[in-house]
């Protein structure tokens, strides 16, 4: 290999530098008056805008949140340990923004768009403002396409549509994140060729981790990678060690990235895990900025914090590309208290909630969804016809079962119809149980629920129901894949399909019961 000659080096350098314009750099400055607790008071910055990004020494950025008569209050997005009183603060001239683009897929970034997965810089097309006013009424259309989570209980009874906001609410350790992750993993199907043929558009996912342990986020990323979901997912992480301002803006960064996909005519799903911690971070920031505290010491605009975030999830009108942004916010309750301040706020904002109960979780019903008080205000509009047909009686059946559950202890002392309802209900509950990380495609859900709501499962012993379902679906895969394909293509249960299904399931049930007796 020949040595590089010095004049070659200067030639290349000269070419590189040739395009460099020498310009006078004009910027506005201020002086730090007081700094501490992640908040800085700056003197000067007379033309600073609200929510503008400002630069402190040592590469620390901050955001202007308080414009007062003689000083500007900024929150810091980094360590304040190297910044001292008297330091110069520079305006960047731009409102806090986040780089967005397809290059974000597969990456783990912080709320400012800086990569934290150690894989080098992210190649993005443009910057989008983190705070952005949601679209008006004219630009939207009603939600009409399903967002399949792959969880039978959800897709059957609390269906989510593209563009909807569905809250996942429950105590700690009840499976809230599990539902969100299953929903993300299930979107892998939407990126396949088969989905394209069925007219299903791909869904890009964004998982925003607010105030969680870094180890938990690492586990989530690992799991998503294993399931091949990272190809279409971005993780925005503001973990517990990140300063409160970072945790406060993290969901907005997620929304900004989601809006990028939505506005380009594509579909996106954003999971905010969780908004309780964002509210706490915002409370911290507000109190340090000396804003007056309200109920539970939250600032007066805590409702607006969540409402402006969730309003950005929408289904666009066809003239604007027909894209959508679906939001799955997560709220953690304390001791099941859904009438606390933050939970009631967010419940009133979202289009429904999935309520997870610890008692159900502990008695083995997982996902621990309390179907009675969970609701999806979009409902049937977000379901394919096939699902509507099988799941219609599901909710009623379960509701009746819940009412009669207390009588189950009387055993055979009840009348025939009550016994039948109890049997149907308990078997449906068993059928709706589902493992984690095994989201089920919608056509298989239809088959499983068809068997359940038409009474085929009633005579199977409860502990065998899981095996029954598994083997039934195996049989469908092996010998009747064309029927499954038909269901997913037509999205409906025509009379022929219904009859075929009935025949197949009857046959299978007989052979299964025979094998059980043996």
């Amino acid at each position: 290999m020949s040595d590089v000659r010095p004049d070659e080096v200067s030639e290349i350098l000269r070419k590189q530098l040739a395009g460099f314009e020498k310009e006078v750099d004009i910027y506005d400055v201020g002086t730090v008056l007081q700094i501490g607790d992640g908040v800085a008071r700056v003197y000067g910055l007379t033309r600073a805008m609200m929510s503008e990004l400002v630069e402190f020494p040592h590469g620390v950025f901050g955001m202007v949140l308080n414009l007062e008569e003689d000083n500007v209050g900024c929150i810091l997005f980094g360590e304040s340990s190297e910044i001292s009183e008297g330091d110069t603060v520079r305006r960047t001239g731009r409102v806090a923004s986040m780089p967005v683009g397809d290059g974000m897929l597969g990456r783990v970034v912080n709320p400012l768009g800086q990569p934290i997965d150690g894989r080098g810089p992210v190649a993005t097309e443009k910057l989008a403002p983190i705070e952005r006013k949601a679209l008006g009424v004219i630009q939207r259309q009603p939600v009409k396409e399903p967002l399949q989570t792959g969880i039978k209980a959800v897709d059957g009874m609390i269906p989510i549509g593209r563009g909807q906001r569905e809250l996942i609410i429950g105590d700690r350790q009840t499976g809230k994140t599990a539902i969100a992750l299953d929903a993300i993993i299930n979107q892998r199907y939407t990126h396949s060729e088969k989905a394209k043929k069925e007219g299903i558009k791909p869904v890009y996912c964004i998982y925003v981790a607010v105030g969680q342990k870094s180890s938990t986020v690492a586990q989530v990323v690992d799991k998503l990678q294993q399931e091949g979901a990272m190809d279409y997912t971005t993780v925005i992480a503001a973990t517990a060690t990140d300063p409160a301002p970072m945790q406060f803006i993290a969901p907005y960064s997620g929304a900004a990235l989601g809006e990028f996909f939505r506005d380009s005519g594509r579909h996106a799903l954003v999971v905010y895990d969780d908004l309780t911690k964002q509210a706490q971070a915002y409370r911290q920031v507000s109190l340090l900025l000396r804003r007056p505290p309200g109920r539970e010491a939250y600032p007066g605009d805590i409702f607006y914090l969540h409402s402006r975030l969730l309003e950005r999830a929408s289904k666009l009108a066809d003239e604007l590309g027909g894209g959508s942004l679906t939001a799955l916010p997560v709220i953690e309750t304390q001791a099941g208290d859904v009438s606390a301040y933050i939970p009631t706020n967010v419940i009133s904002i979202t289009d429904g909630q999935i309520y997870l109960e610890p008692s159900m979780f502990n008695s083995g019903i997982r996902p621990a969804i309390n179907v009675g008080i969970s609701v999806s205000r979009v409902g049937g509009h977000a379901q394919i016809k096939a699902m509507k047909k099988v799941a219609g009686s599901l909710r009623i059946g379960l509701a009746q079962y819940r009412e009669l559950e207390a009588f189950a202890k009387f055993g055979s002392d009840l009348d025939k119809s009550t016994l039948a309802q109890l049997k149907r209900g308990s078997h449906l509950v068993e059928l709706l149980k589902q493992g984690q990380f095994v989201p089920m495609p919608v056509e298989k859900q239809v088959v499983a629920l068809f068997a359940g709501t038409n009474g085929f499962v009633d005579e199977i012993p409860l502990e065998q129901v899981a095996r029954y379902e598994r083997e039934l679906l195996e049989v469908m895969d092996l010998r009747h894949a064309d029927l499954l394909a038909q269901i997913s293509l037509t999205k409906d249960l025509s009379p022929e399909i219904t009859n075929s299904l009935k025949g197949i399931i009857t046959q299978f049930t007989e052979s299964f019961r025979a094998s059980v007796k043996a």
């Binding site: 590189q16 530098l17 395009g19 460099f20 020498k22 006078v24 750099d25 004009i26 910027y27 506005d28 400055v29 201020g30 008056l33 007081q34 008071r41 003197y43 000067g44 910055l45 007379t46 033309r47 003689d70 000083n71 520079r90 780089p99 910057l127």
Partner: protein, 184 residues
């Protein structure tokens, strides 16, 4: 934290009084000499900041020091500030008064940092150019800082015009790291 609200209130009051009596320039000069004395003397600063010494005693000391050197209006003002126990803010009040005076007379203070000392002619040209640019009469405060490598850094109020070689090098470095023209 500098208590700007106190300084502002007192300076504003003094300005109104001086304006009515047409003694703005004299008052400004007096105040700046008081501020300079405070800056230069550690004992005076300690005295001004001490809550232990009674106001009457402080006033007597200040009268003896400044009585003959400043105008009556200024001396009365100093006595008033001491009586209100705000003498610890005197330096800030003087600073703010100077700002108000500048605003009133249409003078703008400009800080210029150069890499090497400028010649008298360069200074004159600079003042003229700045005066044209700002549309006001300009009071240039010049300082030399070799760290900027070359060029000038001009600061007018909160706005900085950075035409230094150091800034150009920083931008160049950022551009190289980004691998192309910076877009962010």
């Amino acid at each position: 934290m500098k208590n700007l609200q106190v300084a502002r209130r007192y300076a504003q009051a003094l300005m109104e009084m001086a304006d009515a009596a047409h003694t703005i320039e004299d008052t400004a000069r007096d105040l700046s000499s008081v501020a300079a004395a405070l800056k230069a003397s550690r004992e005076l600063r300690l005295l001004a900041g001490s809550p232990v010494v009674r106001p009457a005693r402080k006033e007597a000391i200040f009268r003896e020091l400044f009585g003959k050197r400043v105008g009556k209006g200024t001396m009365d003002f100093l006595a008033f500030v001491i009586a209100r126990q705000r003498e610890v803010h005197l330096e800030e009040i003087a600073e703010h008064f100077a700002l108000l005076r500048d605003a009133k007379t249409g003078v703008v203070g400009v800080d210029v940092v150069a890499a090497v000392a400028l010649t008298a002619q360069q200074e004159q040209e600079l003042s003229r150019a700045l005066g044209r640019a700002t549309g006001k009469s300009v009071r240039v405060k010049l300082s030399v800082d070799p760290a900027i490598r070359g060029g000038l850094v001009v600061r007018v109020g909160d706005t900085v015009l950075d035409a230094s070689v150091r800034r150009q090098l920083e931008l160049l470095k950022a551009r190289f790291i980004a691998g192309g023209p910076s877009t962010n």
